[in-house]
């Protein structure tokens, strides 16, 4: 700079000398004065020097001024760079999406957030405000635009709104958008700058929490939150109760908060249980008790009371959560039920005893009668009338004996749930049955077809099973068709973990429409057969059920009958 000034000063000096010299020359050539030989006078030299000093001073002043302006410029330039840097850092640090809207020409600029947060590609991002508005959720856009334009009208500085903004993939994110206005000197709005914050996670968490909260506030179970601080009675203080607690106990929320858990207990409360509760509280253990509690009005009720310790983020016990249920009704029903069961058991035992005694008292003289008849058999009777009478007497006695024996069997089955159970080969059972029915089988010669897919039946009482098939077999022979030869098909198979035995005949059948409910009943007869007592199927069903099985029947009059037995396979 200095050099520059010196150069300029030197040039100025040369020009000045040259001008003075030239004017001198012109003047001398035109005036022809006497002092022609003097080149430059002292006076002129002084003027030149003065002029140079003056010039140099002006240059100096000018230079100084320039320096100040330059420094100012430098500083403001530095400020701009720093501010730009700060902006870049902030823009990087924040996850916010920033937009800049020049309102006059509707130019809309987005920062990179529109790509990173919402997934738009650079070329997809629109250049106007419409692009922004179009991506606001239809349910939010009307409200949002009303608020935005009223803000623009009132010209306040700040604006904030919450809405859903559409992502590139079509999904919506919850955002908070904050904006401010930039005005020109005349106060006219020229720009609006905003930053969009993605609050989807917070929003979802908020909704989840609100949902969870409804569980606590809306549940029929009484919910209580207690602090971990205990009173002098080792009971924690109440921090929160829900409305179910209010309804259950009669204590209002504002009355309960700050009170201790003691308010629920009284002299009728089970001491053992309250001690257990205190122990759990001391040791931060989960606890569940059932005890008598007191309402605000002093009335008692049964409560099911559970307490769960809750820890904070650092794993420290921070609260107790307690859930309570009024179980008075359940308790009362339980008592009633117990009473009822006691009575029923007693009645049942009495009846059982009664039936044993009765049957014994019937059987004792009856066994004498049969014994006497057996002895008579050996004595020849000459008188035909006496013989006829004794035969009738004998038949009736044996029939009575059979009936009573059947009834006795039924009683024993009903009363004997813990019968001996074993694994039995099905074939062996049938062999025994056929042996016992040898006479009937050889007389009527039925076609027997046996198809056993499953050879064994486990967990069964052999003599019951024999009795069941003896009964079914006898029925098939008794109620055979008079026109076609009797055919009996017996099959076994496994289906859905059950053993299914089917027993099918082509006999006269049973009218199921009429007799559906009665078929397995006691003393139900469906045919007018002299031997029929109506006990067989009742016994069969009792025996099947006592072994945990089921029996069903399918039958058509004139076509035949099928009995299906199901036993759980183990």
């Amino acid at each position: 700079m200095k050099n520059n000034s010196n150069k300029i000063t030197l040039i100025y000096f040369v020009i000045l000398i040259t001008v003075v010299f030239l004017t001198q020359k012109i003047f001398t050539s035109y005036s022809f004065s006497s002092e022609t030989n003097s080149i430059i006078t002292t006076k002129e030299i002084v003027i030149i020097v003065l002029s140079i000093v003056l010039f140099r001073y002006f240059l100096y002043v000018n230079e100084k001024h320039n320096e100040i302006v330059l420094n100012k410029l430098k500083k403001s330039n530095q400020d701009i760079i720093e501010s730009k840097e700060r902006y870049d850092i902030v823009a990087k640090a924040t996850s916010d999406t920033i937009w800049d809207w020049k309102i006059d020409n509707d130019a809309f600029i987005w920062n990179k957030g529109i790509q990173s947060v919402f997934g738009y590609k650079k070329e997809e991002v629109g250049k106007g405000s419409n692009w922004w508005f179009e991506r606001i959720h239809p349910e939010d856009s009307l409200k949002m635009s009303v608020r935005l334009y009223s803000f623009l009208d009132y010209k306040t500085d700040k604006w904030q709104d919450e809405y859903r903004f559409q992502c590139a993939d079509g999904s919506y994110k919850y955002v908070i958008d904050k904006g401010f206005l930039v005005k020109n000197k005349d106060g006219k709005i020229v720009r609006m700058i905003g930053s969009i914050q993605d609050v989807t996670k917070q929003k979802e968490e908020e909704q989840r929490l609100r949902l969870l909260e409804t569980v606590i506030t809306q549940t029929n179970d009484s919910v209580m939150i207690c602090s971990t601080q205990l009173n002098e009675n080792s009971m924690p203080n109440i921090l929160f109760v829900n409305s179910a607690f209010e309804n259950m106990t009669g204590y209002k929320t504002e009355e309960s908060i700050g009170m201790s858990l003691d308010i629920l207990f009284g002299e009728k409360s089970d001491n053992q249980h309250t001690e257990e509760l205190k122990k759990c509280i001391r040791e931060y253990q989960v606890c569940e008790v059932e005890t008598i509690c007191y309402k605000k009005n002093g009335s008692v009720f049964w409560i099911n009371f559970s307490m769960i310790p809750v820890t904070n983020k650092d794993g420290e016990h921070s609260h107790w959560i307690s859930i309570q249920r009024d179980v008075t009704e359940v308790k009362e029903k339980e008592k009633e039920r117990e009473q009822l069961i006691r009575e029923l058991t007693k009645n049942n035992n009495d009846l059982k005893q009664f039936s044993y005694i009765t049957s014994h008292n019937l059987r004792a003289p009856l066994s004498n009668l049969t014994g006497l008849l057996n002895l008579i058999d050996d004595i020849p009777i000459e008188n035909p009338e006496l013989k006829e009478l004794i035969d009738g007497f004998s038949t009736s006695t044996h029939l009575l004996n059979d009936t009573i024996n059947d009834l006795v069997k039924a009683i024993v089955i009903k009363d004997n749930p813990s019968i001996k159970k074993e694994k039995v080969p099905i074939k062996e059972v049938f062999e025994n049955v056929f042996n016992q029915l040898n006479f009937m089988i050889s007389l009527h010669k039925p076609i027997l077809k046996i198809e056993l897919e499953e050879e064994y039946i486990s967990n069964i009482n052999k003599s019951y099973l024999e009795s069941i098939f003896l009964n079914l077999m006898t029925n098939s022979i008794k109620y055979r068709s008079t026109t076609t030869q009797l055919k009996i098909t017996i099959s076994s198979k496994i289906e859905n973990d059950e053993l299914i035995i089917s027993f099918k005949d082509n006999g006269i059948g049973i009218d199921l429409e009429k007799n559906k409910d009665k078929i397995f009943g006691l003393y139900q007869r469906f045919h007018n057969h002299p031997d029929s007592k109506g006990l067989g199927l009742y016994l069969v069903k009792s025996q099947v059920e006592s072994m945990g099985g089921t029996i069903t029947v399918d039958s058509k009059v004139g076509k035949g009958t099928t009995f299906t037995l199901n036993f759980k396979k183990q």
Binding site: Y356, S359, H360, R363, A364, L366, S367, N368, T370, G371, L372, N374, L375, D378, V408, I411, V412, D415, N416
Partner: protein, 133 residues
């Protein structure tokens, strides 16, 4: 054929039946009927010093349901007094019209009880018994 059989029952018809049936199949040389458990107990009481006596029965048919002393009470006294160890040749068969399955189970508790039969006793059963004993 057995030497001596006792029938203990409060019902005279049952006793008569028993006796007749046994006679038909030649079950025993001597059949003695007793109408109560007490009678039988006093018999064993008097003979407890001479267990080899010929009067001691080989077999007793015992009814359960009797007034005063039931068959169970008889068995209890018999067991408590150790008669089952004294009269080693004597076996007992319960002959009853009971249907209670618990009774059969209960009878197994007494070592001298060898069988549990249902009334009435028949010639067939007696013959089978005879062949076994």
């Amino acid at each position: 054929m057995l030497d001596k059989v006792f029938c203990i029952d409060d019902d005279p018809i049952t006793l008569m039946l028993c006796k007749k049936a046994m006679q038909r199949v030649d079950f025993a040389h001597e059949i003695i009927t007793l109408q109560s458990g007490e009678e039988a107990i006093s018999f064993f009481e008097t003979n407890s010093n001479s267990p080899e006596n010929n009067d001691i029965p080989n077999l007793i048919f015992l009814d359960l349901n009797m007034p005063l002393m039931s068959g169970w009470e008889f068995l209890d006294i018999y067991l408590n007094r150790g008669y089952h160890k004294i009269f080693t040749k004597t076996s007992i068969i319960v002959l009853s019209s009971t249907i209670d399955p618990k009774d059969i189970e209960k009878s197994k508790f007494y070592p001298m009880v060898v069988n549990f039969l249902s009334k009435p006793i028949s010639k067939e059963i007696l013959q089978e018994l005879k062949s076994k004993l």
